[in-house]
Structure formats: C-alpha cells, structure tokens
C-alpha cells in the first residue's frame, strides 16, 4: 500500500489552499497529520481519495493515478471517516455501522457482515449502544460510531479526519492507540488528523507537520518532527519538549508574538 503525492496544488474555487505538496507514504502504520487550523490538513486528505480534485500535480494510490480511478475503485482501497456525519433520519447504531459494508456485501446482509459489525462495536466499546438511534448519541459516541463504520470497510488504507475532536483524553488515547495497534495487527495504513500533539506523539509511527500557507514542513518519526523549534514556528506557541517513555512530550508556554 502506498500513497504518492507530487507537486500537488489544491483549493476551493479560486482560493488556493495547498501549495506544491510532495508526500510519499508506504506500508502499514499510523501517520498523524498535525498543523494549525486552516492550513489544509482536511483538504490534503480529501485529495487522497478524490473527494477534492487537485488543481495541479498528481496523486497516486498504489501507483495508480486517482484521476483515472472511479469512486468504487478508490473506495475498495481507502475508507474515510469524515469529521462530521449526517444523521437527519437516523438508524440504530448497528445498522449505521452496517452501511460501511455496502461495498463488500450483496443484496442480503451476510452473516460475515453482521459479525464484522458486532466485532467493530465490541472493539470500540459500543456494544451497549447497538440498538440506540444514531442521532441520540453524544458527540463523542457519534464520532466513535463513524470510526466503527470506517473499520468495517476493511480497506488497506484508512483515513480519519479529526476522529478524536469530540473525545475526552481517555478516549483520545484509546482511539489513537487502537489505530496504531490495528495498523500493525491488520497491516493497514492509517492516516489521521490530530490536534492533540502529545497523544499523536505517543502513538504515531510518522508525523506530517503542515505549516501556513498550505505546505508540508516536515514528515518523519515523532522525535524528529515534534521539536520545540518546529512547534514554536508553526503554531506560534512557546513550548519545551521533554522525553517520556522514549517519546517527545510538549510542555506548553504562552502564545508568541
């Protein structure tokens, strides 16, 4: 499994968000994308599965140009968990997750589909909510159900847009570390956007640090990317980095001018 982005520009209408992006990701593992608000993190992951078409450059999945792949072909390789999921006419949680099996299942829901959903709910501690309507859940539970739907698609690449934004710290740690473990156990490339740098630092195999205006500043192992110099320049926040359990941990200071 690999994703190759070369000289990619992207944006919305006339507004250019991403500038000359070059990124090469290969093999299983957890990659966290970090960077300030509005820097183009979501825009970049949307270009990976053609939710957004780049204005120039190329995006390749497993060597194939996404521009030449149709939606179904991309969906067979990449599953995507958006930052927000619609729930106007909500189904029970179990059925909501089951929709994720659409690509794998035929007309009738197979026993394997049902068991996959059961396992995903169990893994994410959602079993007790299986019969609850999706739109009655808390924001955090809502988000976890969306992650379960991403998991049951069983693709080799899983992309998550801020999957922990509504979660408390325990659940942020749980989800991020689970993504790391699943990446190893199931040999999946997991790419997620995260705003909690310390948690990302604890579990990510690689970090992509983005900076204004819409560029990648650095890609690499956490120890190389999470440095006080990087954080201060990209976020304009003072910080000190200490090492805990072999990983960099940020101690934050005040906002810099």
């Amino acid at each position: 499994m690999r994703i190759d982005i070369e000289h990619m520009d992207a944006g919305y209408g006339d507004k250019k968000i991403l500038h000359d992006i070059d990124l090469h990701l290969e093999g299983p593992g957890l990659t966290c994308i970090i960077g300030p608000n509005g820097v183009g993190k979501s825009t970049m992951i949307k270009c990976m599965n053609k939710l957004l078409t780049s204005t120039s450059g190329t995006v390749r999945i497993n060597g194939k140009d996404v521009a030449e792949l149709n939606r179904k072909e991309i969906a067979d390789i990449i599953s995507y968990v958006p930052v927000q999921t619609d729930d106007v006419f909500a189904m029970p949680v179990f059925d909501t997750v089951l929709i994720g099996r659409a690509n794998k299942s035929k007309w009738k829901t197979s026993p394997v589909d049902i068991i996959k959903v059961k396992k995903a709910l169990e893994v994410l501690n959602l079993t007790d909510l299986a019969d609850r309507p999706f739109n009655e859940l808390s924001a955090g539970q809502h988000q976890t159900v969306a992650i379960a739907r991403g998991l049951v698609q069983e693709t080799e690449i899983l992309i998550l847009d801020e999957p922990t934004s509504n979660l408390d710290i325990r659940h942020q740690i749980f989800i991020t570390s689970l993504m790391h473990e699943i990446a190893i156990e199931k040999s999946v490339m997991v790419i997620m956007i995260s705003h909690n740098l310390n948690i990302a630092s604890m579990f990510a195999d690689n970090i992509i640090l983005m900076e204004n205006p819409g560029r990648i500043r650095q890609v690499g192992p956490t120890a190389e990317v999470i440095t006080s110099e990087n954080i201060e320049e990209v976020y304009n926040v003072g910080c000190e980095i200490i090492v805990h359990n072999g990983r960099p941990v940020m101690l934050l200071d005040n906002i810099l001018n």
């Binding site: 053609k50 939606r71 995507y80 958006p82 029970p92 394997v112 325990r170 570390s177 199931k186």
Partner: protein, 375 residues
C-alpha cells in the same frame, strides 16, 4: 498510564479481537445473527401488514354502494373477471367498471405520492421535502391553469389538462436538477431553488386566475382539489406501470439511498457517485409524480406523511422504508377516498381534502407521542 500499562493492554486486546478470524458459528455470533434476522423480519412484517391492509380496505370500499354486494363476493367477482368466468354481468360491471377503477386509482396514486415523498426526504435529507414543497404541484397547477383559462395546451381535447399538467410539473424539477448538476449544489440549495420556482409558478397561476371567467375558475378549482374518481382503466394502467417501475427502481437503489443519507463526503468515499445518483433518483420520482398528478390533480399530504409514519415502524433503513411507504401511502389514500365517499353521503368529499383532514391530526399525534429519535 503508559502505552504498556493498563490502557495499552485493553487496546492490544481490542486490536486482537478486530484482527481475529470471523467466527460466524460461535454461540455469541449466532445469537447476534439471529437477533438481526428477527429485526429484519419485524420490518418486513410491517410491509406485509400494509399490503394486507390495502387489500382489505379495497374490499371494504368495493362493497360500498347502492347495490349490496358482500365483502368476499367482491373478491370472487374480481377473480372471476380475471379468469374470464363471469357469472353475473351486472355485478361484474358494477364492480369492475364502476367501483374498482376509483379504488385502483387511489391505491396507485397513494403509492406513487408516498414513494416520491420517501425518496425526496432521503435524497434531500430534509423531513419537509415532498412533491409539493419542491414545486412539482405548482408546475402542474400552472399547466392546468394554462389549459383551462387561456385554452393553451400541448394537445387538444380531453387530455389538454392532463398533458399540460404533466409537462409543466416536470419544469420545476428539471430546473432543480439543473441547479444541482451545474452548480454541484447541496440538497438544501436544490430545495431552495425548488421553492423559488414554486413561488414563481404560483404567481403565474394567480395572474391566470385573475383573468379567468367563473366557469374556468370552477373547473380549475375542482382539478386543484384532487380526486381519484375520474380515472378510467387505461389511465390507471398507465399510472400503474409508471408507479410500479418507480417503486421497483427505488427499491433496487434503496441501499444507495442509505449510503447517500450518511452525507455527501462519506457517501462518495464509500464509492457512490453522489451527484448523479441524486439526480437519477429525483428524475425517476418526478416522472412518477408528474404522471399521477396529471390524472388526479393535487393531492397533498400523502407524500409528506406516509414515509414519516413508516419510519416510526421500520426506522430509516430505506431497504424497508421504500416499499412500506408505497404500501402505506396506498392504504392512506384508499382510506381517505373511502371516508370522502361515506362521511357526508350521498355527497362526496374530495380525496385531497380528506387526506389533509385525516393526515393532519394523525401526523400531529404521531409527532407528539414519538421521541426525537425518528427525526
């Protein structure tokens, strides 16, 4: 807690569960599969109850009339007519040519309007979407007004109103779909475009009414209220073919409707061509509604209410909702027509009025007793 501490163990165990083989034959798995199958059966039962209700209400409705014909005798006469074994020509005529067309028209129209409401609400992700809030009725109304008041029609003769209503009811939807396609518009934008077109057509219709003579106004008014009494068998067969094809196609694409309901980005990422699927489904149901409305006039409420009532019983899963909405819509309109014929007999109340009278309070009751969850 550290990575290798308590949290780490929980996570490692969870990841191992996810990576484990899918054992579909363990006791726990079999129980889950069984529970899911039971929930499927429960939803299908509601669909069958609606089908049974449609047949029973139709039977009851056929018995009603000046000549006393028994409930089971009605079915016998229909069966004999189908098999070509007619015993009593008079009773056969009364049932097959006098009473049945109206009932068949009500069933087909109800199903067509309900399926349209169901698809529109799911596609637009809006509980208020139905053939009327999206401008189809105003287009049809304008087409009819053009034929009645100014005598401008696409074809002459008896079908002047019908053809005009059909063609003009497609205009708002065509414009809505155009906005959707050209601007890659969101469902909300499309609905708002539909409403803008509705107001424009309503204004045109009002101008035509102001110029119209009293006879033309009366004729237009009776068409506007909506009735299933005036359809003959050839019209009903045409409506039936279009509605049945619409229901079948929508049912085939019901899983895609479920995916569409997860949101545009999510649906695209699951492999769905969102814009084209939305346009395709709206095109199907606009043909269904245009056909039905052009023969029956404007019958409101069924398209809005039937899917909502069905959601209470089968949930929002379109695999069950599509068919049950069609069946429930058929029953609802059939009951409304039966009530309209009997409640102030020998006078008749138009079915369009009765749907609002029955549907309004029923809908209100269901909304108030229902928890927030369905919507």
């Amino acid at each position: 807690m550290t990575i290798d501490g308590q949290t780490g163990d929980v996570v490692k165990r969870a990841a191992k569960i996810w990576a484990s083989e899918d054992d579909v034959s363990s006791k726990g798995s079999l129980e889950t599969i069984q529970a899911y199958r039971v929930s499927e059966l429960r939803k299908m039962t509601f669909v069958f109850i609606c089908i049974a209700a449609a047949i029973i209400v139709a039977g009851l409705s056929i018995t009603y009339g000046t000549m006393d014909i028994g409930f089971f005798q009605c079915y016998e006469v229909i069966w004999n007519h189908i098999t070509g074994n007619v015993n009593d020509k008079l009773i056969d005529y009364i049932i097959v040519d006098e009473r049945l067309p109206r009932i068949a028209a009500a069933l087909v129209t109800g199903a067509g309007l309900a399926i349209a409401g169901c698809v529109m609400q799911s596609v637009m992700k809006n509980p208020l979407a139905d053939p009327y809030t999206t401008g189809i009725s105003s287009g049809a109304g304008f087409g009819a007004a053009l034929a009645v008041t100014l005598g401008i029609s696409i074809v002459g003769g008896n079908y002047a109103i019908v053809v005009n209503a059909f063609v003009f009811s497609l205009v708002p939807m065509a414009m809505m779909l155009g906005v959707g396609k050209l601007k890659k518009a969101s469902p909300t934008m499309m609905i708002m475009a539909g409403m803008a077109i509705m107001f424009m057509f309503n204004a045109f219709t009002t101008v035509l009414k102001l110029q119209a003579d009293p006879d033309a106004l009366a004729k237009l008014y009776s068409w506007t209220v909506g009735t299933v009494a005036d359809c003959d068998w050839s019209e009903i067969m045409l409506m039936f073919v279009v509605v049945a094809a619409g229901v079948a196609l929508t049912q085939i694409f019901s899983r895609k409707l479920n995916i569409l309901a997860t949101g545009d980005d999510s649906a695209k990422a699951m492999g769905l061509d969102v814009e084209n699927m939305r346009i395709f489904l709206l095109l199907i149901i606009s043909l269904v509604v245009a056909t039905v409305v052009s023969f029956t006039g404007l019958i409101g409420f069924v398209g809005l209410v039937a899917p909502h009532v069905c959601r209470i019983f089968v949930g929002a899963d379109n695999r069950y909702l599509v068919l049950s909405s069609a069946m429930f819509g058929a029953v609802l309109l059939e009951v409304a027509d039966f009530v309209g014929r009997t409640v102030i007999a020998p006078a008749t109340l138009q079915v369009g009025v009765v749907t609002a009278f029955i549907g309004g309070p029923m809908f209100l009751y269901l909304i108030l007793r229902q928890k927030k969850s369905t919507w």
